[in-house]
Amino acid sequence: MKIIAKDREGNEHELEGRDGWTLMEILREGGLGVAAECGGACACATCHVYLTDGWYEKLPPPSEAETDMLDMALGVEPNSRLSCQITLDESMDGIACTVAPE
């Protein structure tokens, strides 16, 4: 499963996704500068990403808890998600995202 992730400098990285892992975990391991301060508890909004290439629409919509937590993120756009709340599976092969500003 491929993950296409753009860092804050605009460089594109191709990362190997893992079934059952969260997108945040893959981005953090890949050194994309995702703080994920709360460790994936949907409690800090520091794993904020923008889903690109139509991936926002392809995924199930965010939960109410995630939507509420996005209120604490900076630079929120209509395609904003918290990457700790996206659990990867094979249907997400090729998922594309950009890490949001700190």
């Binding site: 301060e37 709360c38 508890a41 509420d68 209120d71 604490m72 900076l74 630079g75 209509p78 700190e102």
Partner: protein, 359 residues
């Protein structure tokens, strides 16, 4: 959650009060679980501690990030929330009467002529101790700064991350950003004294308490508050004095609003802060320690909990507890060089029972 208190002003100018230095055995930076349990382990060895934390209450990440979320990997407590764990640690360390300095950020660490350390805070507190323990987790919790170009130039004069004195905002055009309780509470509190108040949020929905949202909507209907689904794109003014802001709506259309004060409320994020300049050996912004004492390469300065690093380090609360226990043994020898450390178990020692108030 995320309600800023009046004494929490990391980016504002604070009056420096020159107090008499406090003398103690151990100065602890950070009142999260590792720092709190360190008080216990030090206390068993009759070492007294002062703690400094930038937050206005104990618990660190436990109470700031997940006060109500259960933790499942604390030995002996199958499930405990961040707040409950903090409350229990506070109860456990009560016999040792730790002294807390909340709402203060450590700004300096210097060596005294007599070999002890002096830790200073932005509130002017000075603590002199032979041992310093950095238990600062991921660093200081600081307000999130919105990605608006040039915002730093206005901070302290026109851009604030907390409201200290409401009177400072009387008669002003106020712009508030955010959708949490702080944003809504201050919208409601400041609207009656503002010249105008504009609330800006990225959606027409809020994580704040529903009754606050309802009251805000009533004020909007009454023409007393303006609400825009938008984001702040630019700030305009001179010499740090704000006059207006450019907002961009959901349709990307830009427009200007009058703003003499801008108060963004996006919660807190962790920054290492001044600790980075203490001259300690850092590895990836973490303090390198040995695993026998959890002492840094700077003698007398220890690091425990998430902020320390060593081969095999795992960032778990239980690791911080272990690190605190070993640190305390080493700290004893520095604080009491002429005394013999008597290792005792809390189960069997009547001496410890007395200290704990259990006898």
């Amino acid at each position: 959650m995320y309600f800023f208190t009046d004494n929490y002003l990391p980016w504002n100018e604070c009056e420096t009060l020159m107090n008499e230095p406090i003398e103690t055995d151990v100065a602890i930076v950070g009142a999260g679980p590792a720092g709190l349990f360190a008080v216990f382990e030090l206390g068993l060895l009759d070492l007294k501690a002062h703690l400094i934390d930038i937050l206005d209450r104990p618990g660190g990440q436990c109470t700031e990030l997940y006060p109500e979320k259960p933790i499942y990997d604390i030995p002996g407590l199958p499930t405990v929330t961040g707040q409950q764990l903090t409350d229990r640690l506070m109860e456990q360390i009560k016999p040792f009467s730790p002294q807390f300095h909340f709402g203060e950020m450590v700004t300096g660490l210097t060596k005294c002529a007599d070999g002890r350390w002096k830790l200073t805070s932005d509130a002017g507190t000075e603590i002199v101790a032979p041992v310093v323990v950095v238990a600062a987790g991921g660093g200081s919790f600081m307000p999130k700064r919105p990605p608006v170009p040039g915002i730093e130039a206005y901070e302290g004069r026109s851009v604030f991350y907390a409201v200290r004195k409401m009177e400072d905002f009387r008669g002003k055009d106020i712009l508030i950003a955010g959708g949490g309780d702080s944003a809504l509470d201050w919208t409601l509190n400041l609207a009656p004294i503002a010249k105008s108040l504009t609330l800006v949020h990225h959606r027409d929905g809020f994580r704040a308490a529903q009754h606050s949202v309802n009251r805000m909507r009533e004020l909007v209907d009454a023409g007393k508050v303006k609400f825009h689904v938008a984001s702040v794109k630019a700030l305009h003014g001179e010499n740090g004095v704000l006059s207006s802001a450019t907002l961009a709506g959901a349709d990307k259309q830009e427009f200007q609003v009058a703003a003499a004060a801008f108060i963004p409320f996006f919660g807190l994020t962790m920054k290492l802060g001044p600790i980075a300049d203490f001259g300690l050996k850092l590895t990836d912004n973490l303090i390198a320690v040995d695993t026998a004492k959890f002492e840094s390469e700077t003698p007398g300065v220890f690091a425990i909990g998430d902020i320390c690093t060593y081969s095999g380090k795992v960032k778990l609360i239980l690791s911080g507890f272990h690190e605190a226990a070993l640190m305390a043994q080493a700290a004893f020898h520095i604080c009491r060089p002429n005394d013999r450390l008597r290792f005792q178990y809390t189960t069997s020692s009547s001496n410890l029972h007395k200290k704990l108030g259990a006898s």
